[in-house]
Symmetry: C2
Subunit: 173 residues, 2 copies
DNA sequence: TGCCGTTTGTCCAAACATTAGACACACTTG
DNA sequence: CAAGTGTGTCTAATGTTTGGACAAACGGCA
């Protein structure tokens, strides 16, 4: 029960119920919404560890545009909460676009309960990885320096630090 | 012609030729390989701005396992070079796995030349975004502090800095 | 309510990092 | 060769980080 609260957003009550039963034993709390309208307020109130978001809410529209829109909106406002998308209309282009828009994962209906649980746990675990500041810094420095073909003057300017400081950071690798 | 060298890896000579013609006007140099075996050495020699990698090399095997393996290997060794995957056997699960394994994008055969060019350019542009060190730092600090529910002592410990330093960093936001 | 462990806000002085500026040297390129 | 650029090194001033210390605030708990 170490995985906190999860928010499930889907316009189909049957699916909401099924998912609730499936996840009840794994998460401390399963909050459901049958429309994404109130998603932002609900997230602010509940502070869920992850969000499971359906992609289609308008009947007859199955392009996933609406789910994509909500994905972007939620991800922009809460970039630290992993969002897993779920849809019946699997499509490679849509999945790729979703992941590039910040989705943590993408599962297709009908889903496998164990896989859904694994995917959600994975998403939460990934987000939880905390890196010390100096490690983050040296990785970034290495990357920028690389992009500048080793030119320290340019790299330092791009990083917003002085040439000597970069020199020292690199020397003590 | 500002997009540098691109490396194309595909076991089908016809596709290699077609891609070469398509990309010749956009990239300074198009290097091709008909097998991923020599990929790592070739990348080290050519230092390409992006890599276009096919997913299937063994005839009759179309699970994409081999492409995935090479994606991981290349991405581990050259994390700063965007890798775009291309496959004839489009499959949502495979695409999701590829993106989560570090692929920059995922396109399906038969491809649209303009789209392929756009995707490759996008991938290169995305990788080129350089963030100043202090911005990177304050974003990370905010994120970790958030995950610790505002507890500065814990956050400082996780970040590998002293409590006072974190205090000052937050004060001068 | 009062006690206790924890966290915060604040201070200090020592250690350390960063800065601009300077200068000789090495390297490309015309 | 000469000009232009980047490197490696130094200095002195300035700014940051550190552990340690301490009173005040907070939250749980009996």
């Amino acid at each position: 029960m170490k995985y906190g609260t999860i928010l499930v957003i889907d316009d189909n009550p049957a699916i909401l119920t099924a998912v609730k039963i499936c996840l009840a034993g794994v998460f401390e709390r399963v909050v459901t919404l049958n429309s994404p309208e109130k998603a932002l307020v609900t997230i602010a109130q509940e502070n869920p560890a992850a969000i499971l978001l359906d992609m289609n809410f308008s009947l007859g529209v199955n392009s996933g545009q609406e789910g994509m829109m909500w994905l972007s909106a939620i991800h922009r406002k809460f970039p630290d909460i992993p969002i897993v998308l779920i849809t019946a209309y699997a499509d490679v282009k849509l999945a790729v676009r979703a992941l590039k828009n910040g989705a943590a994962d993408f599962v297709t209906k009908p889903w496998d309960n164990d896989e859904l649980i694994r995917v959600l746990k994975d998403a939460i675990d990934k987000m939880g990885e905390i890196v010390p500041l100096d490690q983050l810094e040296s990785e970034h420095v290495r990357k920028v320096l690389n992009k500048c073909d080793g030119n320290m003057k340019k790299a330092a300017a791009l990083l917003g630090i002085s040439r000597q400081t970069l020199y020292n950071k690199v020397k003590n690798d």
